[in-house]
Symmetry: C2
Subunit: 181 residues, 2 copies
């Protein structure tokens, strides 16, 4: 299936409200537990989504449009959320995520991208040549990968509690998959 | 981690609003495509969640409380959502899901379950003896397994569009895991 920019924007616009409806004021059992040493809690994941808004998607779009393939994107720091979450509560992170996402979508719309712009190319520090289309599609798919992770981290907290049903619950069969940008 | 009934109820109460915020009026690219032959779209998944509200959780709680282990739960029909979705739109399904979930949580609260009730046992058609605690924990984990599935089905639509980033997106490494009740 081809990338469709309005579909991408529709999804990106909804993620903050969906996370807010699901996570705000949820007991910490669900939001502050992780899957074990060196894994992320839901709280960490929301911090990572904020960090990616600041350091990844729109900044890379701008580098691509200004420099094409002559300048590589800055590498993304997977631990960069540490400074986003320090001293914050989950409701605060949800508010910040909603605000930075909204600002970034406004910046994206202001670029007035045309269909032919989507084929323009930039340089990824690992992959080399990448299209604007793939970068924007990945922004949306990255939301989905972390929604997938959030549901898995939460389900992990009930791995024992569900007793024999564990064998029927797909999310408990998911091995987890690393994710970066 | 032990099962905590207030935590379970907190999660169950939020799922309809979260799905509503994420899915209502989203383009059909995201909601009516599936992962291939004999797989479910997001629309199908919401129909399944409705069917499970009607046929699975609270009906099984009532059988367990009334009959203990002397009467097996009715088997759950994994294709039972077919009649829930026929002729309906996704916004209609989201409204129905919110209503039946709310009604079921009201019924659950009206039972005034005490901590010691959670150890009471019923009979599952496949597993045999199961506790009320595990049944209720599974109700919440079942929401999470289908949130996990929804994010995976949606991400699948952009499998090609994300280009080289596919290797970094955990949700695209997820093989899918069958799920039943």
């Amino acid at each position: 299936m081809q990338h469709n920019l309005p579909d991408t924007i529709s999804l990106l616009a909804r993620t903050p409200a969906a996370l807010n409806a699901f996570l705000r004021d949820l007991p910490e059992t669900w939001t502050f537990q992780n899957e074990g040493e060196n894994t992320w809690s839901v709280f960490d994941v929301v911090g990572h989504l904020i960090h990616a808004e600041r350091a990844d998607w729109v900044p890379r779009v701008k580098i691509l449009l200004q420099f094409g393939e002559t300048k590589s994107f800055d590498p993304f720091d997977r631990e960069g959320h540490a400074r986003e979450i320090r001293g914050k509560s989950l409701p605060q992170l949800l508010d910040i995520f909603a605000r930075v996402r909204s600002e970034n979508l406004a910046e994206l719309l202001a670029l007035n991208l045309r269909q032919e712009d989507l084929a323009r190319c930039g340089r990824h520090p690992v992959f080399g040549t990448v299209t604007l289309s793939a970068l924007l599609a990945t922004w949306a798919a990255h939301d989905l990968t972390h929604l997938h992770q959030i549901s898995r981290v939460m389900a992990h907290q009930y791995r024992e509690a569900v007793g024999p049903w564990a064998v029927y619950l797909g999310v408990l069969q998911c091995g987890g998959h690393s994710s970066a940008s």
